[in-house]
Symmetry: C2
Subunit: 568 residues, 2 copies
Amino acid sequence: MKQSRLYIPTLKQTPNDTESISHQLMLRAGYVRQVSAGIFAYLPLALSVINKVETIIRKEMDEIDAAEMKLPSLLPVELWEESGRINTYGDDLFKLKDRHDREFILGPTHEETITTIVKERLNSYKKLPMVLYQMQNKYRDVTSTKYGLLRSREFLMADAYSFSANLEQLDIIYNQIEQAYRNIFEKLDLDFRVIYGNADLMGGTESKEFSALADIGSDTIAYSDESDYSANLEMASSKLPDNPIEAKQTSELVETPDVHTIAGLASFLNIEDAKIMKAVAYMADDQPVLVMIRGDYEVNEIKVKNFLEVQTLIAATPDQVVKNFGSIPGFIGPKNLAADVKVLYDSSLEGLTNFAVGPNIRNKHLVNANFEDITDGQPEFHDFRVVKEGEISPDGYGTINFTKGIKIANIFKLGTKFSKDFGANFLDEDGKSEPIIMGSYGISISRVLSAVIEQHNDENGIIWPASLAPYQVHLVPINYSDDTQKRLSDEIVKLLKDEDFDVLLDDRKERPGVKFADSDLIGIPIRVTIGKKAADSIVELKIRSTGETIEVNKDELVNSVKILLKNQ
Amino acid sequence: MKQSRLYIPTLKQTPNDTESISHQLMLRAGYVRQVSAGIFAYLPLALSVINKVETIIRKEMDEIDAAEMKLPSLLPVELWEESGRINTYGDDLFKLKDRHDREFILGPTHEETITTIVKERLNSYKKLPMVLYQMQNKYRDVTSTKYGLLRSREFLMADAYSFSANLEQLDIIYNQIEQAYRNIFEKLDLDFRVIYGNADLMGGTESKEFSALADIGSDTIAYSDESDYSANLEMASSKLPDNPIEAKQTSELVETPDVHTIAGLASFLNIEDAKIMKAVAYMADDQPVLVMIRGDYEVNEIKVKNFLEVQTLIAATPDQVVKNFGSIPGFIGPKNLAADVKVLYDSSLEGLTNFAVGPNIRNKHLVNANFEDITDGQPEFHDFRVVKEGEISPDGYGTINFTKGIKIANIFKLGTKFSKDFGANFLDEDGKSEPIIMGSYGISISRVLSAVIEQHNDENGIIWPASLAPYQVHLVPINYSDDTQKRLSDEIVKLLKDEDFDVLLDDRKERPGVKFADSDLIGIPIRVTIGKKAADSIVELKIRSTGETIEVNKDELVNSVKILLKNQ
């Protein structure tokens, strides 16, 4: 392709109002332009990358017998009323009316639509399982649009939907799609983690998120430096060292006037934080809940919420501590509370001996306490802790590190919510009518573009991996008006095209400095410069990622390019 | 691909409320489902066809150095207010507001958007010409939605926009795109005509329409049976035989009481219709206009409107004939009319002698009249005639036939309307700022699918041309549970895939009759049936278009398929 025929409006300056490197580079390198807040035009270079990503996705989805289709964007509002999601999505939905005053929405996802379509025919276990996928624009009227393609209002998704007759079929497909997605992101050269999502909140079924590591990411991921373990900080756990075994001492009520914090108590008693049993009081919906945890840890409220299966979890006010817990702020503990208080114990407390704990008596603490001093039986322990960096991975391999990530995909075991909403039933082997068991899966193609750029760039611009670069080779004659250079350039274009390489030829009448700067900014993996030595058929290859250059004769060119691209 | 993993809800009955064969067949063969009036889901078979059409379009557009991009569908309303098209499109536009009450439309076309984007950088003649194209959903809230993909509200278009520095550049690109479109439609095996569009109404620049011949089409096309000539009936002309040369006689005013029609006058005077000069009175906007035409022809009002460059042309009422023309209904003619009446002469009158004509006197006609009897000078003649079948093609080759067509594409020389609206200017070679000269081009992919099916079907279903069939080979084992048949089927799938054929394997547990009926309905070019002779590695090939069958050994299969597909 001739560069003069592509629209690539590169910019010298970093544009204002851009919060992420990928957004800045996509604007500077002339890949996208914003048409309205969060709504983008994909210019030729970006579309070329998108087409490559789509081809990679298509190939992997075909491998697992998933079939491509395309649902409309304009959806009758009735579908979303039926599922109730018209309310849960709220103002994020774009709504409109047609000339007959019928209401529509612009689809942000398609569970409702696909369910109403497949129920016509997926009426027997013999016709299951099935996986259908599509690649198309989605719509979401998000408020913050400063991150470019990371948070856009019209964005490209590859979304898939699975239909199974039983949970085993669902598991097989779910795992196949997880593997397909892993293959896709590996081909795209993304450094990513597959993390456990907040499944319980989605109705008790399993979910995972694919997160591309990047400082701009809004998710904190806890991952092991030696194993595959990774999870959103909200969901992460870790393996704690056992509490030291000690001979149990006799507990004693001591005066602790004006001591209201863990640090204060530790200092006052001259003990470690780890020897204090901390109590944190919450109102969970309307239920008073006291979470006990070791003094050197913090409570992860998401874990508590998921465990209790409640909608809200709010720290109790001092008034509530008195009224709902029957205690005194600063001195709360598990014993002698109001009858309906639920007490939870974090697993950090398992095996703890001779600890300090609140006695629910003003200005006092119980010291050298043990579990028999505060509970009747042995309590159950669960994980309610915020994981810390440096802890041992829950699988026992490596230590936990934190990193930031961009959510690029997720996979959900949906269960039967939508099949029940829309009456999508099938007859099982015993002739019994059952709702189809569904899964939902999606890759945000727009975000993938951003994530790849976040991970592959330098001060001069984008550095595309060969698999999704808009072109593989950038041919830059210093002076395309020069006959010798032009002849050699055109010959090389033909040589490379015959080997199926995508070539961009910079045929513009620009100064070499401008051409080189644009080339670095655009980020094609290999630049071939054709200059003074054109008469001797010698050209320079430059590797974008390393900056290395080598001179080769045109006869060695195709082979050199092949080797270099393989090593990218 | 395994048929059990595709969603193909075939139907035995023709669905109600479907007016076109293509719509019926797309529903019956399980290609599409309607989600809402005029809004369709493309199921796997349809998407496969669409992907093939898009690949063909992409290849031809690449050939002419056009660059693919993708503009958003959600467009700020301000762009359409600026161009004024918010009014001309009216209720056909889908309009909506975002959460901040800002107004948007769903784009039916993208001249406004692309112009605002390219004006940033296409600021010099050095950067022109350029052609950008995209393939994406368009939106138009049309009222009649009974024709399936022929008139849908969300539809797929491949639209292109060209930017030139001068009219010569525009001509070159316009011709290149016309040729590219011709190549595309030939590859799609469409019987089509390129016809001259109603250019004058679009601001005096040139346009052409690509029309696929089909009885369901809403356009009437006049074409020559021996040359390339074709035009919309509204625009079509023809070559008339000269009027016979006769010695001029002396005119005479005769009584013609109660004669109000051409037929009546011809019969009363015992002359041919062709010897009468017919007068048709119109109000053109507010101007009285009298169109004179030979009695055996009809006036084409579109031609009159275009010639006069008026908005409305309405037949004059008897009152208006009296008041605005100063005449008497039934006896109107060109002489002695009110001063401001404009008289037009159709070219059928050129050289006519000794004719009958209205004298603007009640119950009288002037007979044996000649031009000097009714006008001062020799009048100008123009083409205002409705062409008739059997007339000579205007290029002199062949005679005119009529046919119905589906508009599948059009190409427009836009000129500078949009570049002026949005200030898209460039500096020419003399450093002078000029508006960019634009062109606009579009293929309706949704209609192409319909048009191909309208032209390629029989009573059993669709008959796809090999170039865009969803699969090239349909492998149908009579009983896929039978080990021998399964082994041979799987082996043949591999043989064909190794040669890059797209294969659909009917692995369903259905009766052979159901499988064969579905296969014919779906319309894949070659069916390979694997039955009893599987043990001897013998299979049956069936050609969908002719119904012919041949038996071949699996070793000859790939070669046979290659030859058969080449001849499709």
